[in-house]
Symmetry: C2
Subunit: 280 residues, 2 copies
């Protein structure tokens, strides 16, 4: 059950650590990365979970987002899990496509064979990962926020908004806002959850917004020059849903930014400050 350290680097006075552990929810070994600010030497610190996008592992955000400076300044840990189960016995897209299977768990609990044996990233992110982090790291997992990018923005919104008792705030960069209505989402949800679209509702942020009984602070950033905006991300659908449900959200269209980590790096401090204000 315990996680073992497989890499560690000092960073901004804190520690960037990589852990490996046997994960029951996804029935395989998983790796996750944690930034621990220096203040965690003396006290448990709050945490922001970061869910990455298609093709990513736990490492992309860690090496490219430049989030550690602000996390150190604010005294917040950042936990970045992988984006799918991994291992030789974990089934992948038969054609090796980037948008389904390995690196593309879509943060759901699959119900369809052969995916349901391992692809249970919703439970992994919501329950098992926080339990392991709480056991292993000087983190107060009762003070948590959740964020993510693209597929991970979808995960942050759907998991976060449906579990307001577990997160103080939710944010997303370029999230897939309406996966029941876009090619990436329709492909993944069909395979993982089957053809009955009623089972998809809990994994579409626009639907989760409608069902939400308790509101959390929500911040979304979307680049106006993002090549995926019109077909896959559909930020306007989230704007409409939040307005329709009277769920207040800050949704910012950022002029000229694209889908890359340069966009994330430019605004990650803003997101961390937003979460810090709600975790305090």
């Amino acid at each position: 059950m315990m996680a073992e350290i497989i890499a560690e680097n000092r960073c901004f006075g804190g520690r960037q650590v990589r852990f490996r552990h046997r994960a029951e929810s996804v029935n395989c070994e998983m790796v996750f990365s944690v930034f621990l600010p220096s203040s965690s030497r003396h006290q448990k610190v709050p945490v922001m979970y970061w869910l990455s996008g298609l093709t990513c592992t736990d490492e992309n955000f860690v090496t490219k987002a430049g989030a550690q400076a602000a996390a150190e300044a604010l005294g917040i840990a950042i936990v970045a899990p992988d984006t799918s189960p991994r291992g030789d016995d974990v089934p992948d897209d038969p054609e090796g496509a980037y948008d389904f299977g390995l690196g593309a768990g879509f943060y759901v609990n699959a119900t369809q064979a052969p995916w349901s044996t391992h692809y249970r990233m919703y439970d992994y992110v919501l329950d098992e990962l926080p339990a392991v982090v709480g056991e292993t790291c000087p983190v107060d997992v009762s003070r948590a926020a959740i964020s993510g990018h693209s597929m991970g923005g979808h995960g942050a919104l759907t998991i976060g908004l449906a579990n307001p008792d577990r997160y103080a705030s939710v944010s997303a960069f370029a999230p897939i806002c309406a996966p029941t209505e876009c090619p990436w989402g329709e492909k993944a949800l069909t395979h993982y959850l089957g053809d009955d679209r009623s089972a998809w509702q809990a994994h579409d942020a626009c639907e989760v917004v409608k069902a939400a009984k308790q509101h959390l602070p929500v911040l979304v950033d979307q680049g106006s020059a993002d090549d995926f905006l019109a077909e896959q991300l559909r930020t306007r659908r989230l704007m409409e849903a939040s307005e329709g449900a009277a769920y207040p959200m800050t949704i910012r269209l950022q002029a000229g930014y694209d889908h890359s980590y340069f966009f994330i790096a430019s605004f990650i401090e803003s997101h961390l400050r937003f979460h810090a204000g709600n975790l305090a």
Copy 2:
């Protein structure tokens, strides 16, 4: 002669741009990356050149160092060249080793066959790259600083200290301080410059320090947990040389940091602020 844009991303309000151009000094096509702060829309800005280490391209620093936030705040462009000539006709280490040939130009002008046809990174960094940047970008190349990591720290020190009319200040992260006395340096200098060690002097920072007639502000950071410190980097040799030559330098041993980009990210803002103070 002109460079063409092959990629561009908005970043912290500025632009992260990648250029390709035909480079005469190294007799091949070269790619370099430039961060242009938003202030460059209205005026030419000063520049810090960044020289990367073994195995890197122009992209490692750009994606991993998180330097753009501080460069935007300070109004400084950052130009990151590749670490060697590239192309099918550029000879590489016969065994494909990481520490010589492609990705390992060591910022010298090779004099030995077959290397001398392309491996002229000293001239490329000192003369051709600034000329192309000055033609292509809103950069005042007369206001320049130079920095780098590991092999690139060696390049920044040897090129910078020997050309005080061209740079306002010099800095380095974990530089190879005495390449004439370490395995990486001895291998590379033997191949590129031949067996006559007198030809190596200009490419050993400790020797350049002794010969320097004009002093520049110099800042060096070295991690105490760097696995390469004792055998390859030898920071103490630079401390001795600067003391012996009465060349004032700020050389900081940073407790617990290793050779990774997590170390660079932790202190790059400090280096940019140091250069900004000297470029003003």
